[in-house]
């Protein structure tokens, strides 16, 4: 581990960013899905900073109960407080906690990095909401475990019921979609807001993220089997539906739907499509006045030809350098190498390393803490 570390240090030389740590993560048997996402989150600087800040402020209160939030904060603190600049760390406690918490991740089978990210963010939100409730209702005596049953199940709080708590996880990742449905009979537009932590996009061969986002927001007609119940007409009607981004998130997480259920095969198949993603991106299908601009800072890459096996690695941009994280290994790469993870233009290709989850950070001053 010393050798690999010193190689990276040598490569960066005196450009090694002040105070930054680049640590590989040990793999405990098929935990690369976890490692790749953890690296992306660690180098999501506003998230990291707020997690560490939260942890520093709440250390005393929460030291009784271990949960995923404390385990994650522990891990990040451990990395950031290393004396050495590079090396390998074992995320053992975090992985154990994860497996305890969710049986899905307990087996040694190959796991989906997106599912893990989704689970983790929702879990963090749950924990924060419970703590907030606990301190509000009964700050002295309540222990979080009592309230397990009645917290809001996930971050998707629809409609106006109360004021949903906005945690720092929300402030980083949460965006709002508006689902507009126009009844083709009475022309009434029904708008429904949904919150999201990431956008899952359908992909096409030889397309771009821009194009996938456009398709995501394109107008879809609901008819035949799939009619819309119009409240005004009080009946099923043909309608037009489209998704607009009402509030773009500070951290835009884009999940490419590379694993598709193929009915004829009766199983999932990996789509190796070439989907190009730019290093800068704008969302133009927003309802806000200015087009919000984003910069790519992390990519979780799925390596392999099938959905049930393979490997995950991540690419991370830190202080204007691109780094490649493959479990224990960390290497510096040139920006142009990012292009080799777009996918293949032909179905059968030796290239099986494909961008799977993209992390963009807003360049606007917006709601950065």
């Amino acid at each position: 581990m010393g050798a690999a570390g010193s190689k990276l240090e040598k490569a960066l030389g005196d450009q090694f960013p002040e105070g930054e740590r680049y640590f590989g993560l040990e793999n405990f048997g098929n935990t690369c899905y976890c490692n790749s996402v953890l690296q992306a989150l660690y180098f999501c600087v506003p998230f990291r900073e707020q997690l560490l800040e939260y942890y520093a402020n709440n250390k005393n209160i929460g030291d009784a109960e271990e949960n995923l939030l404390t385990c994650l904060a522990d891990l990040f603190t451990q990395i950031s407080s290393q004396k050495k600049k590079t090396g390998v760390i074992s995320p053992k406690r975090f992985v154990q906690r994860l497996k305890k918490q969710n049986e899905l991740f307990r087996s040694y089978m190959h796991q989906d990095a997106h599912e893990f990210l989704n689970f983790l963010l929702n879990e963090l939100v749950d924990i924060l909401e419970k703590e907030a409730q606990a301190s509000k209702s009964d700050p002295e005596t309540s222990s979080p475990s009592d309230k397990l049953a009645n917290g809001p199940k996930n971050g998707l709080a629809n409609g106006p019921q109360k004021d949903p708590l906005v945690t720092w996880v929300h402030r980083n990742f949460q965006g709002i979609l508006t689902n507009e449905t126009r009844c083709l009979r009475c022309e009434t537009v029904t708008a429904r807001d949904e919150t999201f932590f990431d956008l899952s996009l359908d992909i096409e061969q030889n397309s771009s993220i821009t194009s996938c986002l456009k398709n995501f927001s394109s107008t879809e007609t609901l008819n035949a089997e799939d009619k819309f119940f119009c409240d005004k007409c009080c009946s099923l009607q043909e309608a037009q539906k489209r998704m607009k981004i009402k509030k773009p998130p500070h951290i835009l997480v884009i999940h490419l739907k590379r694993f598709k259920y193929i009915e004829q095969l009766g199983r999932y198949k990996k789509l190796s499509y070439r989907v190009v993603f730019p290093l800068e991106l704008k969302l133009s299908n927003t309802m806000e006045d200015a087009d919000s601009e984003y910069s790519l800072f992390a990519v979780v890459v799925h390596v392999g030809s099938g959905p049930n096996h393979g490997h995950y690695v991540s690419l991370v941009k830190s202080h204007n350098h691109w780094l490649f994280f493959d479990d224990e290994n960390v290497e510096m790469i040139d920006e142009s190498v990012v292009q080799t993870f777009f996918g293949s233009a032909q179905e059968y290709s030796s290239n099986t390393d494909h961008g799977y989850i993209l992390f963009y950070e807003s360049l606007g001053t917006g709601n950065k803490s």
Binding site: Q15, E204, Q205, N206, S207, S208, T210, S211, R274, V276, P278, L279, E280, L281, K282, S284, D289, A290, D291, E293, D334, E335, S336, Q339, T340, F342, S344, A345, Q346, E347, Y348, S349, S350, N351
Partner: protein, 537 residues
């Protein structure tokens, strides 16, 4: 001669299926076609008629590993005028050549090779005097092939002397443009680095009419005629400049001073008048992806990683203007023949029309589903409604993208609809005050770069035609008098003949194109070309 594939382990993956990779190659039917390429049509319709697939040009499959898109095929057309005697320069004239001629220009993509800060800052615009630059052709030369007399060069198929030059992997291929033969007539191998760009100038005084740029930063100038006469696989009689990117900063032996401010445009001239390149234009941080001279050679446009188009007065060495893409890098640029407009394309999936007069973006072409990798004006096209007056000029241009599509566009300034002042439809009235678009009202001073316009401020164009022309992402488009050429990243070129071009000319191709699933009729004298395959029919 290029059939021996030996130990190449890559052969199967990209271009062909495994079944086609027999060691010696056969003349059998193209089993390598996949479902995608079979769905491609061999024609497309436009208001003026059908464009038909005339010929395809490719290279022996399997021999070249396609390594993660690091070298993208570019095409250059070259028209060799007849010369009574061979006039290629003797290598010994190099000393004087460097002052009288040498590298006129080349856009070299310096793919960050190891060195220091990893920023790729060089673009070469060497010059041999501005008067000479008046004939500047862009990297994807649109001029060759049609203007010139019908000279008779023995080896050339139809005597027009038009050749197609394209790079694949470590090799530069030369094909006879008007011959039905798919395979190149010449391959030049580079052992150390991959050729990434090339240009041809028929007017080059010393006969060094072919420029080649390598990913290492090396630049060669050579005589195309001399290459065609040589039987070897190496570049012959070439001048070699910027060896291993020696102009790059920090290499010690550079003849240029250190760049003081990486963010500022600066021009430095070589300390010695004998050296070449003669000047270094430091344009921006990050790579430069494409450059183009205006037809009269007076202006130079550059686009790059930072997303900016920059336009320079070439002789004054001054920045005139430019602007930012909507977002992401710009990948290609091209001038209109009259120098009034510049097209750019890039990672925002847009084709941008830039007006020299207004020094701003006047239209965005929406239609590609991926990055735009090639743009070109069709200078041979004239609008059927054109009355010949200067007032109402209609332009035709084409673009190709990584979505495998060729798009054709018509554009006239008269029909551009300037968006109304900001008042979002159905939006809150509070928006309309104060946030008025500055894009159309402001005057852009000379020498300034414009920020990215907002989506709402730029008029949109829709394509006239959208056609999937290849099964791989495209890299270039070129117009000639008779046809449109499209190239994909892997080095397959298709020639689409214009509507109404004589049937006699296209009859050959009908036979070839039309029989994709059967045995190819071998042409007389071509029986030895055993690699003849129809991959993309």
């Amino acid at each position: 001669m290029m059939m021996h594939n030996g130990s190449n382990g890559y052969g199967n993956g990209v271009m062909t299926s495994a079944s086609s990779s027999t060691a010696t190659g056969t003349s059998s039917s193209p089993s390598a076609t996949n479902a995608q390429s079979q769905a491609l049509k061999t024609y497309f319709k436009t208001p003026e008629g059908r464009y038909k697939l005339h010929y395809e040009k490719t290279h022996p499959p399997g021999i070249l590993p396609y390594s993660h898109g690091k070298s993208v095929s570019q095409i250059t057309l070259a028209h060799l005028k007849e010369k009574s005697t061979h006039s290629g320069p003797a290598p010994s004239t190099s000393a004087s050549a460097s002052t009288s001629s040498g590298v006129r220009y080349a856009a070299a993509r310096l793919l960050g090779v190891g060195g220091g800060n990893g920023s790729r800052t060089l673009s070469f615009v060497g010059g041999n005097g501005t008067s000479k630059a008046a004939n500047g052709t862009s990297r994807s030369s649109t001029l060759a092939g049609s203007n010139g007399g019908h000279s008779m060069l023995n080896s050339n198929y139809d005597g027009k002397g038009t050749y197609l030059i394209f790079n694949v992997g470590d090799t530069l291929f030369i094909s006879d443009l008007n011959s039905p033969d798919k395979d190149p007539i010449k391959a030049i191998h580079f052992s150390n680095s991959n050729p990434v760009c090339h240009a041809f100038d028929p007017e080059a005084k010393d006969g060094h009419d072919l420029l080649i740029g390598l990913s290492s930063g090396d630049v060669y100038s050579a005589s195309l005629r001399q290459q065609l006469q040589d039987v070897g696989k190496k570049l012959v009689g070439a001048q070699h400049y910027n060896k291993e990117g020696s102009c790059k900063e920090g290499t010690g032996d550079s003849s240029f001073p250190v760049i003081k401010d990486q963010t500022q445009f600066s021009v430095a001239h070589a300390r010695s008048s004998k050296s070449n390149p003669i000047a270094r234009w430091h344009i921006c941080q990050g790579s430069i992806n494409s450059i183009a001279f205006s037809t009269d050679g007076g202006y130079l446009a550059t686009v790059g990683r930072d997303g900016y188009l920059r336009v320079f007065d070439y002789s004054k060495e001054q920045l005139i203007g430019g602007g930012k893409s909507y977002y992401g890098a710009l990948l290609c640029c091209a001038w209109s023949f009259d120098g009034k407009y510049i097209l750019t394309g890039g990672e925002d999936d847009l084709v941008t029309v830039w007006s020299m007069e207004d020094r701003k973006v006047v239209a965005w072409g929406e239609g590609h589903n991926s990055w735009v990798s090639g743009v070109a004006f069709d200078s041979y096209w004239s609008s059927p409604t054109s009355d010949g007056t200067e007032e109402n000029v209609m332009y035709r241009f084409g673009s190709v993208g990584q979505d495998t599509q060729l798009l054709l566009w018509d554009f006239t300034m008269d029909e551009i609809i300037v968006p109304l002042r900001r008042c979002p439809p159905g939006g809150s009235p509070t928006f309309s005050a104060g946030s008025q678009s500055s894009h159309w009202d402001s005057i852009c001073p000379v020498g300034t770069l414009q920020p990215a316009p907002s989506m709402r401020d730029v008029p949109k164009l829709s394509p006239l035609v959208a056609h999937r022309v290849h099964s791989e992402p495209l890299s270039g488009v070129t117009f000639t008098e008779e046809s449109i050429l499209t190239a994909c990243r892997e080095g397959h070129v298709k020639i689409w003949v214009r509507p109404g071009t004589s049937e006699s000319q296209s009859s050959n191709s009908e036979a070839i194109v039309g029989t994709s699933s059967k045995e190819q009729p071998l042409l007389p004298g071509k029986t030895s070309v055993s690699s003849y395959k129809s991959v993309h029919v």
